[in-house]
Amino acid sequence: MSTFLSYAVPGVPFGCTYAIVAMGLVLTYRTTGVFNFAFGAQAYASAFVYTVLTGQGVAVLPAFLISVVVLAPARGWILDRYLFRRIAATNTTAKLVSAVAIFVGLPQLVTLVFGSATRFAPPTLFLNPANVYFHLFSTPVNGLELETVIAAAAAVVAVSAVLRSSRLGLTIRAAVESPRLLELEGVRSDRVLSVAWMGSSFMAGLAGVLLAPQYPTLQFNDYAILLVAALAAAALGDLANVPMALVGGVLLGVVEGLGSGYFSPSSIWHTGLLPAIPFLVLAVLLVTRPRLRALEDSEDPLSGCDPPPPPSIIATRGPELDRIIRLGGRALALGAVISVLTWVPGNWAFTLTSGLVYSIMFLSITLITGMGGEVSLCQATFAGAGAFIAGQLAVHHGVPILLGSLVGALGALVVGAIGALPALRLRGLPLALLTLALALLADNAVFPYSWAGGPPGGLFVPRPVIGSISLATTSSKGFFVLALVILVLCVIGVKLIQRATVGRYLDALRASPIGAQSVGINPSAAKILVFALSAALAGLGGALFGSLQQSITPSDFNYQFSLVFVVVVVTTGVRTTEGAIQAGMGFVVLQQLLSYLPGRWGAGGLAVVLFAFSALTYASHPEGVVEYQKRLWTERVERLVRHGGQPPYTMATSPPKEPATAGSDHHG
């Protein structure tokens, strides 16, 4: 018994931080319908500021006040005010993409501003970590553990008191049911929403600062895991039940504590299963709890009053403009190809080649998000699957890399199809969460093994040899041509599907799943198909990426890349194949250009920050901000050429006047 407790007790403080974040997640989700991925980033940002301030000799109390009491709620207020409030309640994809963008962009921004030096654990808030305050069933409880539990308990008591007793609490609970009904009652629901955002952001900040002293150094990854663990805890309470989320958080911490106590540190359980527990729990809950499956169906009785989204750019772009853009694009592409083959220096040729390879991977997002209408957060995992299969086959069985890449793509296809099975009944947010859980599962429990992700030093992936031509030379021009050919083939493939009957089915399913099913379209078949094909594209791109880099490690394909990929493609345009190519090329070119900047500005984070902030416009420009600008400028130029004549077609930036309430019937 005492061993059991001595293993369980150290898990409690971790569990308490999970519980605080879980509570914040539930609070925002229930009040605003936004599932705030950004909480992990917010917790990290507060922890970071706290660490920096205390590192500079600021006393603990003012550092705490600045980082948690002032900054955290301020961030919540800004997020609500300038971002999430502008997104229609029913636009799940936009809310999701925005939250992912913050999750990706905020930590990079923090690093840009403060530099990337290693930061060591900050001091605790008010108790001495070295001091054992008492023994719980003969297990020593130190200051750090005690403090975390006390703070969590205080936060819980404060929040429940506010929710239960005050008028504000009542309005928040009403806003949870339907902000718009509340507004009809004459209550300014936006003020309530602001308060909810500030409150939950405060909790994220608090959890961040409590967690910081528990790790030797400050790493964003720990906060990403904090988020997922909190997610699993919140899912235990169906994202609705605060007390259950609390219990779930603590339970999860205890289970982890027990696991790390009982499994010997070298066992497969310790290295593989233990870190994956929160993701496993989350994945299982998502698939099995009916309430979580229904997250997608807005419970706001007035949500049907939203006008339909404006028709996308593809539907409204006039034929002339289409031709101009296409011609311009082709001229540019041709110029680029000729340049690479003639005068472009080696490092730029390499960059552009990797742009082509990224474009192939990004096409997988065109398929799954642009055509399938679902956000997947595990595309980098599929890419990794393709790359590792190709690499392992080449290293251990001497399979030529091009053949290996195809096998890798096939392998990813199978993984994607299998991964789609548990996701069949999910869509929107729960589906995205499930893909994230799968990505983390792979990162923690599959890729670290050398039979999968290769030896610690990296897995060697050879360059292709075609006939007597080896592309293994230092110049990557041969590889450039190869990647170009493969990319063109992939683009043709995706375009074919877009124009085919199946493409129409996907359009229908994306626009209105229940409408599409009501005419006989099989949603499961479509989902498996899209997932499988998209995974295959990602896998193929991943294998080529490996071959281009010649050495890969699991960290080249971890879940953060999946998030970045989504953000980048969404920024440039997720609906067209051109969007994917622009995303691939833009991503690498921007990074290469920025690398000329001095110091930390050139370290690579800036490109991600730029893309992340552009992705925040997704709600207003679902066609992609680049696509939108392109249209704007071509139209301007065209009008100039026509001497101020009538524009040949109108810009569909606002929905048609008489809203056709395109949405699902209220019994999804």
Partner: protein, 252 residues
């Protein structure tokens, strides 16, 4: 074996609310049955159960004697159970013609073929004929090639009707199809429903416009808090005191 749609003992609850409580209903081929009742009576819930969008807690739904209960909505559609939605569920980016193409193609009982992954999404001859006929019926020929997002609500409702009837349904479930229609569109709707029924389709019409119900329906079923409280001809039903009480409130 009964021809047409048969609903027996259908019950659905939402938390504490009994939305449907042992509802029986029969819809023979070629018959137009009006389903009326005050707001919240359970009309849409009934349609959702028949269409497969909602799982019933108890009861059976069958078409021509074959049970539909365990079928997902898309299989029911392929069997010929088609519907429209009270809150419309069109595909804004597709044109009217594309709506009809998707609908007529997807209903093919064999399902999707691999070749449809790379074909040009063109209707074959029979499908093209069905599409043109449906377009003419609802009078949307001139607007056949515009994105539905640009159409007003009334036209969207007609698109849904056309989408449901393009493959020749066995059963058409229309959930308040006339709401948001202008008088001319409502006239078109009435003509369409009558001619669809004339071709042997059973039509279940949920409608608040009682004049339209009186004009179109062979039989009327009155639903009130999840129970059938009366059925018969329009005149019979309207003369029923229970129905009057349900509509006018409990004071009457």
């Amino acid at each position: 074996m009964a021809e047409g749609l048969a609903v027996e003992g259908l019950s659905v609850g939402f938390g504490g609310v009994r939305a449907l409580d042992g509802v029986d209903l029969a819809l023979r081929p070629g018959e137009i049955v009006g389903l009326v009742g005050p707001n919240g009576a359970g009309k849409s819930t009934l349609i959702n159960c028949v269409g497969g969008q909602l799982e019933a807690a108890a009861g059976r739904v069958s078409l021509d004697g074959a049970p539909l209960d365990s079928m997902p909505p898309y299989l029911r559609a392929r069997r010929g159970v088609l519907r429209t939605f009270q809150r419309i569920a069109v595909f804004p980016e597709l044109t009217v013609r594309e709506h009809l193409f998707v609908a007529v193609r997807a209903r093919r009982p064999a399902g999707t073929r691999w070749s449809e992954l790379v074909d040009r999404a063109q209707p074959n001859e029979a499908e093209a004929l069905a599409i043109e006929e449906a377009l003419d019926r609802v009078g949307l020929r001139e607007r056949a090639d515009v994105a539905v997002a640009t159409l007003p609500l009334g036209a969207c409702r007609l698109v849904e009707i056309a989408r449901a009837l393009v493959g020749g349904p066995r059963v058409l479930l229309a959930d308040e199809p006339s709401s948001g229609l202008d008088p001319r569109e409502a006239e078109t709707l009435a003509t369409v429903l009558r001619s669809v029924a004339g071709q042997g389709t059973g039509v279940l019409l949920v409608e608040h416009d009682l004049a339209m119900v009186a004009e179109l329906c062979d039989r009327v079923v009155v639903l009130h808090v999840g129970r059938v409280i009366a059925q018969g001809s329009f005149a019979e039903v309207m003369a029923d005191p229970t129905v009057q009480r349900a509509y006018l409130g409990h004071a009457a």
